[in-house]
């Protein structure tokens, strides 16, 4: 299968994943409180999993790259204190770059 077809297949599959529950739930009754409480956990859980995968996992094994881990703590503090994605990104990238050159 050519690369173009594979990209198209992934694009279509990804669209179906994105639309999945939205298409199904469209005709069902109002969601309960318990369902709402579960829904609220989705974003923190998925984002934390993606972040941990970025920080600790390289090619299927656990790897500790200290400059990145320290930069992540710095970025986390900045994100908590200033609540600005732009500032968090800039400080984080700068910290990782400085620490990578220094360590």
């Amino acid at each position: 299968m050519s690369a173009a077809l594979q990209i198209l297949a992934v694009g279509l599959g990804t669209y179906l994943l994105r639309v999945s529950a939205i298409a199904i739930v469209a005709r069902s009754p109002e969601t309960s409180d318990a369902t709402q409480s579960t829904m609220r956990l989705i974003a923190p859980a998925v984002l934390a999993a993606l972040l941990a995968d970025q920080l600790f996992v390289r090619r299927g094994s656990v790897t500790l790259h200290w400059p990145w881990l320290i930069a992540a703590v710095v970025a986390g503090v900045v994100a908590y204190r200033w609540r600005s994605p732009g500032v968090t990104m800039l400080v984080g990238i700068a910290a990782a770059w400085l620490l990578d050159s220094a360590m």
């Binding site: 994105r18 939205i22 199904i24 609220r40 974003a43 999993a49 770059w97």
Partner: protein, 228 residues
């Protein structure tokens, strides 16, 4: 200016920081695509067709490894399986939208758009404003991603070799995660998900992430219900 356009712009403004953050992320992908054996136009087109950074980066490296097509498609969809979770989180809001919106807006459903929208829908209840806001936020992030891709593919050589922008990816997830954690159960879910992801490091790429997220949600809900 009509209210729709005002709301569209408000969503766009809210997403500007993440859209700007999407630039270096797109740049990282664009450089990887340009250096791979993928043709230039296909590398660029993937950002429109798939619109999902982690999956696209993984596909490029699998293409370079000469991986078989079922592995490429399977891995990419596994990494993107998290979108079904976001779809679940937004379903009750989207069900108020007319079908033409309900089936087109999800194309713009990214980690960034989902993180912003889930928080915003707590304070915005009006269905019309909700969809215009999502359109503004989703498009703004996507434009950052598309621009970054183009820059990476066509101008990637201009980046000095010693400047490492790869940390843009985890930094963006930190910027998105921290504001979404506003309660103890959310903090617990984030911590459990992080630990399970690392424990599952040996699983195929993407599987550890989706398993960790589902496990964390299940554990925190069970503990919550157990406490009554």
């Amino acid at each position: 200016m009509s209210e729709s356009i005002r709301t569209l712009r408000a969503g766009g403004r809210a997403a500007v920081p993440l859209g700007v953050a999407g630039l270096p992320f797109g740049l990282v992908y664009g450089v990887a695509a340009a250096e791979s054996n993928l043709s230039t136009w296909l590398g660029v087109a993937a950002s429109w067709i798939v619109l999902a950074g982690a999956a696209q980066l993984t596909m490029v490296s699998l293409f370079d490894d000469g991986a078989a097509w079922p592995l490429v498609i399977g891995t990419a969809l596994l990494i993107n399986a998290r979108f079904a979770l976001y779809s679940t989180a937004l379903a009750s809001a989207f069900r108020q939208f007319p079908a033409r919106w309900r089936f087109t807006l999800p194309y713009l459903l990214t980690d960034q758009a989902a993180a912003l929208t889930i928080v915003h829908y707590d304070i915005e209840q009006d269905a019309a404003r909700r969809r215009w806001w999502f359109l503004g936020a989703g498009l703004t992030f996507a434009m950052g991603w598309w621009t970054g891709t183009l820059l990476g593919v066509f101008a990637g050589d201009l980046i000095p070799a010693d400047v490492d922008i790869a940390f843009a990816v985890p930094a963006m997830f930190i910027a998105m995660l921290v504001p979404t954690v506003v309660s103890r159960p959310m903090l617990a879910a984030a911590l459990v998900a992080g630990v399970v992801t690392v424990v599952g490091a040996g699983l195929p790429s993407g599987l550890n992430v989706i398993l960790a997220a589902v496990a964390a949600i299940a554990v925190v809900r069970l503990v919550d219900v157990g406490r009554g």
